[in-house]
Every structure is written in structure tokens, then in C-alpha cells.
Amino acid sequence: MRSQALRRVRRLPTLALAAGAVLAAPLWGQVGITVAAGVRYSTVLVHDQIGGAFDVRPALAPAFAVTASLPLDPPWSAVAVADFSTSDVRREDADGSSQAITRLSQATLGLGLRRRLKPWLSGSVRVGVLKYFPSQDLGLFQDGGPFFPFAQAAFDVAPAPLSRLGLGFELSADVHRFITDALRVEGFTDARVVGRIAGGVTWTPGRPR
């Protein structure tokens, strides 16, 4: 008796998932997937002065993103974005020299709303979480990679000739507040607002705009 009851309880999550999938199936049919590849620029993560002044910032990075969009009442749609970029994080000294500290990858997960502004232009606002992944726990990342909330604005442009191929361009800008445990130990008390700008080509497979 008891084992039967246990089996029923164990089946509940599976049943819930199955029910959710059935109910969500019509929605999934409307979800559009867009992939993007481009390049990302980041502002300074840390400004410090030991002898001379210097900055620490990620180098220009290749950036990749996948966006899922679900149409709401026109002209709105809900979007979920996963984004990844990777490059060296470098110390840039005042004399123009620079030194790589470690390799730094950044991944974000964001949710937001998109509005079609023109037939060839849409704008989005998104919020989410950004996580840093240093290749080594070293220097300012010696306690591992921190994560931060971020806010982002993005514009998608799809001129008619390109949109027929599902192609377009995206320009996005986001901000977050950056600090690490190692920087706190060093005496930094305030997080620094860091901006990131990315531009790239987008492709929406199987769904010309």
C-alpha cells in the first residue's frame, strides 16, 4: 500500500511536466529562435593607481547569442536571451603597454519585452543575470567568477532585402555593477558600473520577417 502511494508521489513531477508540455505545445509552435554572432566591447572593470594609473578591461570579444521570442499582443513579444562572449581581460597601463591577466568568459541569461517600432526595426528592453567565468582563479578573480544583475536595451534592424533571408543586425547595450571579493579585500568599497556594447548579425532560421 505504502509503496504504491510512494510510486504515485514519484510520478507527480513527471505528470506535471507532461501536462505542462501538452499545455505549452501551442505556445512552442509560435516561439521564434534567432541566433546572433558579433563582437562585444566592454568599458573598464577596474581603475586603480599603484605608482601610475591603469585600467583593467576585457578585450574586444566575439559574442554569440540565442534569442527565443514569443508573440504577445501586437506589436509586443516576450524574449528570452542567452548570450556568451570570451576574451582576455587585460591590464592597460598609462604608458600604453598592456598585460593579459587571464581569459574571461561572460554569459548572460535575460528576459524582456520587444516591440516592433517599424516594419524593419524593433527595440527591446531586458533584465537578467550576468556571470563571469575566469579561466583561472587568479588576480581580481582569485575567488572565482562573480555574477551580477544587468539591464539591457537592444535594437534589431532587418532591411527588406535581408529580412527575406531571415537576416538582420542587432545592436545592444547593457550595464551592470562590478566588484569582486578580491577587490573588496584590497580596499575597493564601491562597485563600478560597467557598460557593454555588442553589435552583430542575426539569423532567424526558417522564418523570414
Partner: protein, 214 residues
């Protein structure tokens, strides 16, 4: 809507431009030049020579202690000023660690008050003009003063870190406080705030000595 989105982007950019926290002062270090009074030679490993290559005699736990010491010093830097690595061949090393005579047993370190049960020495072969010739040589000597094996191990651990401090560029033994790992006789197990600041300032000071040629 375009105006709202543009306002969001502009606001974010303005916030990014304005929120610039103050940098810490990085004060409280001591003299790191060879005379210990800011009149002597200044040396540090340049970025082009990183990671610095260390070799340790494979007897006792010296390789493990040197590896640990490299990590301890790496953690004093935030901005990639120093990294080190162990190499298997002493002929390709920038720094060579050896026992000067006897090798103590590898045991857990005694956590009690420090006992001067060992000594250390770091030297270079010679100077040719303003360039160091040959590898840095650091050696550890066991003093037979009736210390326990654990006390010897604790002494060797802190002395390895102390000698690594010389290998990285603190050329004098003039750290003023016994709480500094670079004090003439190291009594603490890890670098102090003054050791950390001193090493950071050293690596942002123009050197007067060049590293050995590779």
C-alpha cells in the same frame, strides 16, 4: 517607444560614465630595493617573462612547498603582475630551490609558536652591467636546534615563502615588522598587508636590473 528606449540607453551610458569608485591608497609598504633604503637596485620580473619558471629539488616536500609558495605570492596580486610555474628541468628554470644539506621529513606543520629551526638564502650568480646572470638560487638549511619535525616543517614553509619573496624582487631583508613574512627571520606563515603592498608597489616600479637572459 523609440524615445523611451533611447532614454534608457542614454541613462545607462550616463550611469556608466559617472559611477567611478575611488581606488584604494596602496600605502603601508616598506623599501624593496637591494639597500633597503630606496638607493639600491630595483628588480621585478617583467610581464614578458611570465610565468616565471621554478624548479625545486625533488627531495622531501620541497616541490610541493615551492608550488604552494608560488600560489601564496600570486594571490597577493590583482592585476596579472606575477605568475609562476614549476618546471621539471632545472636548466630551464629562472629560480632553483634546493636543500643545502639535510632533508627533513614531510610532516604536518606544528601550529604552535614559531621556532627558528631552519634558514634560507637567495642569491644570483653575478651581475653583468645592469643584468642578472644565471638563475636565482634559493636554498633551505635545517638548523639542528632540537626542534620537533613539525616545528621544522612550519619553519621550512614560511622560509620558502620568504625566499620566494626575494626571488620575486624584494632584494633586502629590511621589512620592519616581525609580522611581515619578509622580516629578516620570518615568524609568520603568510605575507602581511605590508608585504602585499610592498610587492604590488614593486611590480609597478620601473626596475633598474634586467632579468637573466633566457
Amino acid at each position: 517607444m523609440i524615445r523611451r528606449l533611447a532614454a534608457f540607453a542614454l541613462g545607462a551610458a550616463a550611469a556608466a560614465a559617472c559611477a567611478v569608485p575611488d581606488a584604494p591608497s596602496h600605502t603601508g609598504g616598506y623599501a624593496f630595493d637591494s639597500n633597503g633604503d630606496s638607493t639600491g637596485y630595483v628588480f621585478h620580473w617583467p610581464g614578458s617573462r611570465l610565468p616565471v619558471r621554478f624548479w625545486a629539488e625533488p627531495r622531501g616536500d620541497l616541490p610541493a612547498l615551492v608550488q604552494r609558495g608560488i600560489g601564496v605570492w600570486q594571490d597577493q596580486f590583482l592585476y596579472g603582475e606575477f605568475t609562476g610555474t614549476m618546471v621539471a628541468d632545472s636548466t630551464h628554470a629562472d629560480v632553483i630551490f634546493t636543500w643545502s644539506d639535510s632533508v627533513p621529513p614531510a610532516v604536518p606543520p606544528d601550529p604552535g609558536p614559531p621556532v627558528k629551526a631552519c634558514g634560507g638564502l637567495t642569491e644570483t650568480d653575478s651581475l653583468v652591467g645592469n643584468q642578472i646572470a644565471g638563475a636565482f638560487h634559493s636554498s633551505i638549511t635545517i638548523l639542528h636546534v632540537g626542534a620537533t619535525a613539525g616545528q621544522v616543517e612550519a619553519c621550512v614553509r614560511r622560509t620558502v615563502i620568504h625566499e620566494l619573496g626575494h626571488d620575486l624582487g624584494i632584494l633586502s631583508d629590511d621589512a620592519p615588522d616581525s609580522t611581515d613574512i619578509m622580516y629578516f627571520t620570518p615568524y609568520v606563515s603568510l605575507p602581511s598587508a605590508a608585504d602585499r603592498t610592498t610587492m604590488q608597489v614593486l611590480y609597478h616600479t620601473a626596475p633598474t636590473l634586467l632579468p637573466p637572459a633566457r
